[in-house]
Symmetry: C2
């Protein structure tokens, strides 16, 4: 859609729900997807193709992909931990496959029991799998660099590690890398430095999206810094669903409602109707009554007359 400046990619159904114990019924998930798409959200990560014994919340991802693909103009994304998951995602027909690869090797081993070399192999295998498809059936393939700004196990993750991993991931066949602040360790200066460094290494069109958390309250400040470095896709989660277990009161992902307000108030078109977006929270209230819902805009409302400042010099 050419009338959008920034793509807000809703990841609540994946990154939000994966941190929620109560399994949300598929009917509510479908209504959530449909309602956000109707509000103007153009990209939704509907789930992940993982081991459902370990993560029953994600067991219906295939069915959600099929449902979401029927919505015109919606980009349907899914996360996969490895080539096996990618195979399932491709069979389900997703538009976009994302594999998280942790810059912290300690985190990678702990999280998916794989070293960097093993993850690069997974990326190569997925690339081959995609290349074997007829051109019109190939999903877009992205590798999200997790713990790209630091890790709760390793602490500091050097910028050089992130840059080198980005180069290897592109070389192995990812069309794009993303930077994920999995642990809420980033700050605006670091965001700028690392985006610049990765852009310099692999090219600006190979890094267009970031995935930010709000663990330390810097999520939107980091988003604003990323925009100024040319980032055009921002992940976020409705109501900040899932929260952050290490910081009571902190959403996990940045909150979609607040992000959309910030972008629109900055004159950046998202294609999203804020009022209709906020209304989607009702589904979470009904479906997951015990989960806290974060965000400021739903309580404070948008400022009176806020659009009047947009034309000012």
């Amino acid at each position: 859609m050419t009338d959008i400046d920034v793509i807000v990619s809703e990841v609540g159904l994946r990154d939000g729900l994966q941190n929620v114990d109560q399994v949300l019924d598929i009917a509510t998930k479908k209504r959530w997807i449909a309602a956000e798409a109707a509000a103007g959200v153009s990209e939704i990560e509907v789930g992940s193709f993982v081991n459902y014994q370990l993560l029953p919340q994600m067991a219906d991802t295939g069915e959600l992909v099929a449902f979401a693909k029927e919505i015109e103009g919606l980009t349907v994304a899914a996360l996969v931990p490895n080539a096996r998951g990618a195979k399932a995602a491709i069979e389900a027909g997703v538009h976009k496959v994302s594999i998280p690869v942790s810059a912290s090797e300690t985190h990678s081993k702990k999280n998916v029991n794989r070293t960097h070399d093993q993850m690069i192999d997974e990326v190569r295998n997925i690339r081959s799998m995609i290349d074997a498809l007829p051109e019109q059936e190939r999903p877009y393939f992205e590798a999200g660099i997790a713990t790209a700004f630091g890790c709760t196990m390793e602490g500091h993750v050097p910028q050089a590690t992130v840059v080198s991993l980005a180069e290897r991931l592109i070389e192995a066949g990812a069309e794009e890398v993303g930077l994920s602040d999995t642990t809420g360790y980033a700050n605006p200066a670091m965001i700028r430095r690392r985006i610049r460094a990765v852009h310099a290494a692999v090219g600006r069109d190979r890094l267009t999206g970031v995935h930010l958390h709000n663990t330390r309250g810097l999520g939107l400040a980091n988003a604003a810094a990323a925009l100024e470095e040319g980032i055009t896709t921002l992940d976020s989660s409705l109501a900040g669903l899932g929260g952050c277990p290490f910081a009571p009161g902190a959403s996990g992902n940045i909150v979609t409602e607040d992000l959309v307000f910030m972008l629109e108030a900055m004159g950046l078109k998202t294609g999203i109707d804020i009022e209709r977006l906020v209304a989607v929270r009702e589904l979470l209230k009904e479906g997951l009554p015990d989960e806290p819902r974060y965000g400021f805009i739903p309580d404070a409302g948008v400022p009176i007359g806020w659009q009047a400042s947009l034309g000012e010099p």
Copy 2:
């Protein structure tokens, strides 16, 4: 202090407490001031010289000024609504006098029952009062432009109104103007535009500080944008004290603890020890047990190894 890049000006004792019904005892206020100064905070607005019948919380401002002035290296600031208040502030011996002047004339009339012209007269009178003092006794005199990004009564406040008011305030004798987002209406793009416009009109050294609220969660994003426009003083409130009545869960002022972390993580020296700063919250817990305490850093802690990224290119 030359080893500070950004002055974090603590306003919790004024802007925080003025929104708290329970009057905090003066002994706790003094301990609060002393503890923040010991943590490295170099400027504290200790209260306001207002009508104490209307705002009993501020009745001890004179005594707090006397106390705070004994702390070496601390800049002691106070807010005054008019020339009468300024007289009291000067008699108490403050280092810095701030008068808020609302860009929204509707807000100005409602809040202090004065038009712009009348407020300009107050500024002129305060200037004369200060000029009549021996040079070494003159406080620094700042006018804070309230509702500088919009108003809950008028809605949009044109940028031209803010710029013109800044010019008039400087002409009337304020050494500096500040921009206050009284209503939490600002966004990073607007922050940049308005700071640039005021800088162009009155000079960069006539606007070095902003006062931000976090009503819509954009407080730190706005702070980061302000820094990039050359702002070097940021107001904030310990624990975001006082909250925002229009947005449950939202601090009023931006939270000092989170702001200091953001600045230090960006490599900007504040002179403040985060751990000692966070410990000051205990005083609020004891003294104002019913008031919510906001902020992410106190719960989440600083990231492990966060300082290691500071030297990266």
